[in-house]
Structures are given as structure tokens and as C-alpha cells.
């Protein structure tokens, strides 16, 4: 959300420019860009010779998705598109939500979060964003450490407390962890310990296994929610799956991915 999409070419603003800008807008709960999730229903770029008028429609998996997240994504989308050079008027509308009218009115008036929700809001959504940035980091470190456990069968859970970033194999999971650490302001050098909380503090030695277990439940939760939300969107809006990018974390055969065959344990 702090990343700024920049246009590579001069000339009139295109739909691709707008979609690139929307690619910086993240669903904090699912830790993915709204463009990958298929939440962007349509983009239109109009206007004459001057600044371009842009209209974006967003859609969500259900009418009852949490309104605070819904507002947050729609508001971030408006900001991201508005920052593009050459863009004039921006209209962002959230479709088919129980709070569509309220949110769309608030966005049109630039009323802000408190101005939009009135008595239901108290201050702002910074704490909500922080909560989910922390969870995203927790999940990212668990993916790295569980992969390490599986790759090195002699390793114990308790030994994970001393793993450093340099010990992790290169790859998608390590890169994802580095990005989540950056978002929290944690160091990303090779000497840094992996198993730390959002302040960079490692658990005491006798709590390492428990810390990992808690992190695991967080990772399962985020991956499970992400795939369920993606699936519900496909059920709700026919054809919307074409607008989704595959999510590798937590993917199963029914998510249109080709994974390990499912073999089960002997009792």
C-alpha cells in the first residue's frame, strides 16, 4: 500500500496503467493484491485531451464481507489510481455489498473512514492494518521454518530458534518473508534471526516450539481464508476465476492447481 505504481510510458493513461496501480492495493486479511484476487470487476478510462477520468468497480466474495476491510480496499484503490500522473477524476465503486451505498457515498465525498461510518468508527484503520501486517509476517516465517523442518528430518522444532535468514534456501518463501519483514521495519540481513515477533524479539528457548505452533495456526488461517474467499468469488461471479492469479501458498487440487497426490496416513 505504500508502494507507488509508476507509469513507464508517457502519453495518455491506459487501462493497464490503472490496473498496475490497483496492483499495489492489498487485501490485508488475505495478504494479496486485489488484482490477483479478482476483486477488480472493471476499469474504464475516459475523458478527452486533458487528464483522464477513471472509473473502477470492485467486487467481493460475499455481500457480508467485513465492511471495514471493504472500505479500506476501496479507499486505497481510489488513492492509488489518483496518484497516477495524468489522471483527473477518479470514481471507485464497490458493487453488491451490504454497505455499498454507504461506502460509495463516502468515497465520492472523500469523507474518510470515520466520516463514512459515523458512530460505528472511532479513530482510523491503522491498528487494523498493523494487526494483519503482523499476521502476514508470522505466516511467512512459519512457511520458511516448516519447509526447513520437512527438508531436514533430523532437525527439531526447538532448534528453529537459532535459524538465521542466511540459513534459509533461496526462493519464493524467503523472498516473501523478507518483504513482510521490510513492511514491519525488521532487519533483512543474513544474520537476523527468523523466529521473532513483530518487534523482532525472539521467544525464550523453552517457548520456541509453542511460538512455531501459534505461527502455524496463523498461516493455516490466512491460506484457508484466501482460498475460500477466492472460491466464493468464483461461485458468486461466473467467469471471475479468469481474473485471478494462482495462489501457491495453501493450494489444493480443487483450487485449479496441480499439487501432490493426496495420500493418507495409516491408522
Amino acid at each position: 500500500m505504500t508502494a507507488l505504481a509508476t507509469r513507464t510510458a508517457s502519453g495518455p493513461v491506459t487501462e493497464a496503467d490503472v490496473r498496475a496501480a490497483l496492483g499495489t492495493v492489498v487485501d490485508p486479511e488475505l495478504d494479496e493484491p486485489v488484482t490477483d484476487l479478482g476483486f477488480v470487476r472493471s476499469v474504464s478510462v475516459g475523458g478527452g485531451a486533458g487528464a483522464a477520468d477513471v472509473t473502477v468497480h470492485l467486487r467481493l466474495p460475499t455481500s457480508f464481507c467485513a465492511p471495514n476491510f471493504a472500505y479500506l480496499m476501496a479507499s486505497d484503490a481510489k488513492d492509488a489510481v489518483g496518484r497516477l500522473a495524468g489522471v483527473g477524476r477518479v470514481v471507485v465503486e464497490l458493487d453488491d455489498h451490504h454497505d455499498s451505498d454507504l461506502i460509495n457515498r463516502g468515497l465520492a465525498a472523500d469523507a474518510g473512514y470515520v466520516g463514512t461510518f459515523g458512530h460505528e468508527a472511532e479513530s482510523d484503520l491503522d491498528e487494523l492494518r498493523a494487526t494483519f501486517r503482523r499476521k502476514a509476517h508470522t505466516a511467512a516465517l512459519e512457511r520458511c521454518l516448516t519447509a526447513l523442518l520437512r527438508a531436514e528430518p533430523s532437525r527439531t522444532e526447538a532448534s528453529l530458534g537459532s535459524v538465521r535468514l542466511a540459513d534459509l534456501p533461496d526462493g519464493r518463501e524467503r523472498l516473501a518473508l523478507l518483504a513482510r519483514r521490510e513492511a514491519l521495519g525488521l532487519p533483512t540481513d543474513g544474520d537476523a534471526l527468523v523466529l521473532v515477533d513483530h518487534d523482532g524479539v525472539p521467544p525464550p528457548g523453552d517457548r520456541v516450539a509453542l511460538f512455531l505452533r501459534k505461527a502455524r495456526s496463523t498461516r493455516i488461517s490466512i491460506d484457508g481464508n484466501a482460498h475460500f474467499c477466492r472460491g466464493l468469488l468464483r461461485t458468486r461471479y461466473a467467469g471471475s476465476g479468469d481474473d485471478q492469479s494462482p495462489r501457491e501458498d495453501g493450494a489444493e487440487p480443487a483450487d485449479h492447481h496441480h499439487l501432490l497426490p493426496l495420500t493418507v496416513k495409516e491408522t
Partner: protein, 347 residues
């Protein structure tokens, strides 16, 4: 009763509803949005041959419920967990009188749980006492995301909620089923937050708190709270059907629950009529943790028997045939259960 491979399972469906979401009962657009959301859950997670038509999904009626649960669904006993949703439906969503009459007509097979809303204040407390006198329930289902005038949600820690919980204690209504949903004021914080369960479970140690859909979408927060409170249980409503489309996710949910709260506190639920119990029972008895998930131990037949019915039967004092009963596991009342059971943890 379900029997397979010489094993018999006493089945309690701990979360069923008799709803009416037909257009003539919808108060506004939200009534349609709500049932459409349920229908998408149903279509998304059900096996193809189990998908209902939209019209039959709007209303089932008592006869169909009895057939789906008891004739086709292997269920020995089912517990009504009604949601009122009076802001969305003219006569409410859950059909109180119809469900209560069905319970009376089918003694031993159905339990009627009631509901309350702390925002109804003193008048609602009087109503709760009167309803209890007439219906004699031992459990309630609380939906914290229920809309009520300008308010779109409440917390268990609200002062009026404490008044109602005190009334429950006094009336012997000991089984408090909590359904967390979005839109809790203030919206600044996570709307699905389950932290309020922690407080009431500590303050009302003589009440049982059954968190429906095991806190999903906040499984992690639920597990962390439930492991610390001996009177917090987990209902598998909504979690069960993942067994079909997303069996690896389901395996992880089960693995986490067995680790954090143990085999004696998990309740099977179909969440009828969102889903039907027959295929869920069949799949669960056949289910096993995928082999590559070395972080979890296999699920045993005894654990499945407890989850499918014995745990809820114990809480509700149901008469389970003696040969089907099982003793409680030798597990701690709080903290992670049997952490050495998984092969990965013990290497």
C-alpha cells in the same frame, strides 16, 4: 447411527436450523443478500450431487428436515441453533415456534436452543425468563453480528451481555453457543475478533462456551483462547464441508484443534440446511490426515466417535447406548494436548 467396517458411531448434529428465507419473509435487500451468501457457501463447498436448487434452499420445512437428518443423514440427535435476524426477515430467519413444535413432536431426537440479544435490555431479560419457563431450554445460540436498529453487532463483554449471562446461570442455561460474524462496533478493529470469549469464559466458569465454526476465519485466535480456557469448546459448523473441496485445509484445521483443545471438546455439525449431514458423516469416518503432513498424528477412530457425537451428547446429557460410550482422554485441561503425538514434533 452410522456403522462402517464394524464400528458404530453415535451421531449428534450440534448445529441445525429451520429457516425461512422466502421472498415473502424478506424484510429488505439484506434478507436476500444473507441467504444468497449461504447459498454460495453451499454451492461452493458441496459435492455436485448434493447441491440443492435455490428455491428449495429458501425454506425446507420440518418434514424435509426430519428426513435429511434422521432418515438419510445417520443423525441420532440434532440441536437447533437459531439465528433471529429480525432486521432482515419479517418473522425472523430461524423459525422459533416451528422448531420448538418439531422438538416436542420428536422427543429424544431434537433439542431446541433459544437465543437472546443484550440490546433488548430489561424487556429482553423478562422475555428470556418467560421463554425459558415455556420452552425449558438448556442452551442458547448467540449471534454477535446481528443487526439491531443503528447497531450492527455486540460483544459478549458488553455490560448488558453480562446481565443475560447471569440470567442464564440462574436459569440453568449452561450451554452458550457463540457465532462470531463481521461488523462489530467499532469497525476500527478486526470484526471477527474472538477475544471477548476469553473474558466471559474466565468470568463464567460454570457455563460452557461453544464457539461455532471454531472461530473461522480466525482459527488462530480461537485456538489460542480455547487452549487456555477449560470451558471453551469448538463447533465444526462451516469447517466440516472443507473435507470435500479442500481436504488438506480440513486436515490442518483438525490437526490444530486436536493439538490445542484436544479430542473431548470438538463437536460435529452439518450447519443444516447450509449443508446436509449424510455426506459429511460418511466423509469424516473415511477421512485421514495426508501422509506428508508430518506435523500431525493420524486421527483415531475413537477421536472420530467423540467428535461425531459423544462430546456433544455428554454436554447435553443425551442417552448414548452404553456400548458406544468412551472415556475422556487423559489430557490436560488447558495448554497444548499431547504435543509429542505428531511424528515431526518427536524427532
Amino acid at each position: 447411527m452410522y456403522t462402517k467396517d464394524g464400528e458404530s458411531y453415535y451421531i449428534v448434529d450440534a448445529h441445525v436450523a429451520l429457516w425461512d428465507a422466502r421472498p415473502e419473509n424478506q424484510r429488505n435487500i439484506h434478507g436476500k443478500q444473507f441467504i444468497d451468501c449461504f447459498y454460495d457457501y453451499h454451492r461452493n463447498l458441496s459435492p455436485e450431487q448434493e447441491v440443492w436448487g435455490y428455491d428449495e434452499y429458501l425454506y425446507q420445512g420440518g418434514e424435509r428436515l426430519l428426513k435429511d437428518l434422521f432418515e438419510d443423514g445417520y443423525v441420532d440427535h440434532a440441536i437447533f441453533q437459531p439465528a433471529a435476524l429480525t432486521e432482515f426477515y419479517e418473522r425472523g430467519f430461524g423459525q422459533t415456534e416451528e422448531a420448538f413444535a418439531l422438538t416436542r413432536a420428536n422427543p429424544g431426537r431434537l433439542t431446541y436452543n433459544h437465543n437472546w440479544d443484550p440490546r433488548n435490555g430489561e424487556q429482553g431479560l423478562d422475555q428470556l425468563r418467560a421463554d425459558h419457563e415455556r420452552m425449558g431450554f438448556t442452551g442458547v445460540k448467540l449471534y454477535t453480528a446481528e443487526w439491531h436498529g443503528e447497531s450492527r453487532g455486540w460483544k459478549l463483554t458488553d455490560p448488558w451481555a453480562y446481565r443475560y449471562l447471569e440470567a442464564c446461570r440462574e436459569l440453568g442455561v449452561t450451554n452458550i453457543h457463540v457465532h462470531k460474524g463481521p461488523t462489530i462496533r467499532p469497525l476500527d478493529r478486526d470484526a471477527f475478533d474472538v477475544a471477548d470469549i476469553d473474558h466471559v469464559a474466565t468470568d463464567f466458569t460454570d457455563l460452557n462456551f461453544v464457539v461455532e465454526h471454531v472461530g473461522l476465519p480466525r482459527l488462530e485466535d480461537y485456538c489460542w483462547i480455547a487452549t487456555q480456557e477449560p470451558n471453551v469448546y469448538g463447533g465444526l459448523a462451516v469447517a466440516m464441508p472443507f473435507i470435500h473441496t479442500r481436504p488438506r485445509y480440513f486436515a490442518q484445521i483438525m490437526g490444530e484443534l486436536l493439538y490445542w483443545i484436544g479430542e473431548d471438546r470438538i463437536f460435529f455439525s452439518s450447519d443444516y440446511a447450509i449443508w446436509t449431514p449424510r455426506w459429511l458423516v460418511e466423509r469424516f469416518v473415511d477421512f485421514q490426515i495426508p501422509e506428508d503432513m508430518s506435523e500431525y498424528a493420524p486421527i483415531t477412530t475413537e477421536q472420530k466417535k467423540k467428535i461425531l457425537g459423544l462430546n456433544a451428547a455428554k454436554m447435553y446429557g443425551l442417552d448414548v447406548p452404553a456400548e458406544l460410550r468412551l472415556p475422556d482422554a487423559d489430557e490436560t485441561a488447558t495448554g497444548p494436548r499431547d504435543p509429542e503425538a505428531a511424528d515431526l514434533a518427536s524427532v
